[in-house]
């Protein structure tokens, strides 16, 4: 994974709360068996409305999404993160993320930062006053800034470290091979095994 540090991009407002992953990418777009090319599914139902924010310049090139609270609820589909990433987003900010979405984002190099509801409204207003507003995302400092305004954001330390180092989770875990083998050696014999198959 690419290391992430500081970047600047156009911010797009998504003025809705409780945006579930069925809205981020409807199920019908989940059928690809590759890990890329999901941009056409991003908010597909909403994008049929020509007025939808991401359909129009300058937001069609946005890289930072400022969303309402409870973003990414519902289905566990990681495709929601892939779709945001493939569309060009590098960061999403909300006052609250659903757990699975938040975890998925961190694994795919999408910064998911938590800001307050007040900060969300302020940024929306700033974008309304100046569409095309570019914001700077400083991951090491955990700050989002534009003009003279600096907004701190929260991200858990471990995810931040991994994003900054560009580390792969599996590689980190495999450093614990001995501990995993030790656990397996003391695992109870009554626990189920799928093989050999029974009941077939």
């Amino acid at each position: 994974m690419e290391r992430i540090s500081v970047f600047t991009g156009v911010a797009a407002p998504l003025k809705r709360s409780n945006v579930d992953t069925d809205q981020i990418i409807p199920a019908v777009y989940l059928k690809r068996i590759t890990k890329t090319g999901f941009e056409d599914g991003l908010f597909a139902n909403w994008r049929q409305d020509p007025e939808f924010v991401l359909n129009n310049a300058p937001f069609d090139k946005a890289e930072v999404l400022i969303a309402g609270s409870d973003f990414g609820t519902g289905s566990s589909r990681e495709h929601a993160v892939w779709a945001l990433r493939d569309f060009g987003f590098k960061a999403v900010f909300s006052s609250k993320f659903a757990d699975i979405f938040y975890g998925n984002a961190g694994k795919q190099g999408l910064v998911a930062g938590v800001i307050s509801d007040e900060a969300t409204s302020q940024i929306w207003e700033a974008i309304d006053a100046n569409p095309g507003l570019e914001v700077k995302v400083d991951l090491p400092a955990q700050q989002l800034s534009y003009g003279d305004t600096v907004v701190p954001f929260e991200i858990d330390e471990y995810t931040k470290w991994r994003l900054m180092e560009g580390l792969d989770d599996i590689g980190i875990t495999l450093q614990n091979e001995q501990a995993i083998a030790d656990y397996e050696a003391r695992r109870e014999s009554w626990k189920p095994k799928t093989l050999p198959a029974k009941g077939v």
């Binding site: 059928k31 566990s76 699975i100 795919q108 330390e157």
Partner: protein, 471 residues
Amino acid sequence: MTQKPLTLAEKLWRDHLVVKGENGAPDLLYIDLHLIHEVTSPQAFDGLRLAGRDIRRKDLTIATEDHNTPTADIHLPIAEPTSRAQVQALRDNTAEYGVRIHSLGDKNQGIVHVVGPQLGLTMPGLTIVCGDSHTSTHGAFGSLAMGIGTSEVEHVLATQTLPLKPFKTMAINVEGTLRPGVSAKDIILAVIAKITTGGGQGYVLEYRGSAIRSLSMEGRMTICNMSIEAGARAGMVAPDEVTFEYLKGRPHAPEGADWDAAMEYWKTLKTDDDAVFDAEVFIDADTLDPFVTWGTNPGQGVSLLDSVPDPASYDDPSLRAAAERALEYMDLQPGTKMKDIAVNTVFLGSCTNARIEDLRAAAEIIKGKKKADGIRMMVVPGSQKVRLQAEEEGLDKVFKDFGAEWRFAGCSMCLGMNPDQLGPGERAASTSNRNFEGRQGKGARTHLVSPVVAAATAIRGTLSSPSDLEG
């Protein structure tokens, strides 16, 4: 030194700890059972292949086909090319890596969360994961079961472990006795309406109390299934005699000395008397009505005896805006009685409510009755085993005589991913778990209901409870 009293969730966490995380790193937990389906696994297998990694424990991994599969004409090739490719990818991947699979047409095929329990693979005291948010279903057995993303699927395939941050714990206390016509589904819809769709975020829910104890395993699975709709990643019920009775004799249940050893451990799987939950919620089962949703998230629900709420009644501006938007999408007016809402489709199915008991409950209501004019009713068993069992009991005949479509197993109309979809503007009473915009088809409108409310609605054509059929 006395040991700190623990909740059930904390005990399961403790017993699966491989490495304790330090300096902000998550804990590494061992995963006992990994369930796989065709939608969230192709990219995980690709990742393994790219990295030249094998599956660590094929003997703890099992696959089935459910999301994309058709529920009619299953002997024909899957018509839709992308669905066919996704199912084929699962077959190819499981063949290449030596993973057990139950494919379309196999008697063990079905919705992944119905298949695990019926094979006896789901049991108390396990950690269970699947690339599907409704994995919380398996918590009904007293397991820590949760949905994961595709990167995590790859992680579990490669390492049989998962890095996880500890959760907070929430007790959902449901005391009392349910009235006739009120069921597990109504409990969980009432819970979600109470704590909202974000209320469980960061928590593992433990459902407790006399009303939960009196439920069958099917009912407990219905409740745990929708923990995710309350924002929680997992929900659980401590195992008891009902659990052990359900499990005993199933194909993969422990036998002999293993059964005894398991029982000894399973009986310790309950929250200690003086353990403290981070949050507690109380629901009165005695006064609970059948619950239905009026909006576009599962927290937007009311008693069936109630009316569509007025968005102006919400103080919180974001809740008010969400309600306004939901009513527009649902084409409903504030003040309309829920029982006056007419539907054109009734869907009995999904990992929430398509087990044998759900089918029996619905069949009991419609037996000898006539379906309302113009209503389409689809009955989709959760697994082929459920379908066969229902046919053995003659339930298929009850449904067919009533005029319902009797289908093969799969996720079906719960999500618009296979041929079973609603058209734009169509309105369904659905026993599934999500009433999101477009979930059952583009522009489709969903009211979440219990199996008996679904059955009564199919008879009357408007949202109804079984008690409306009397007299």
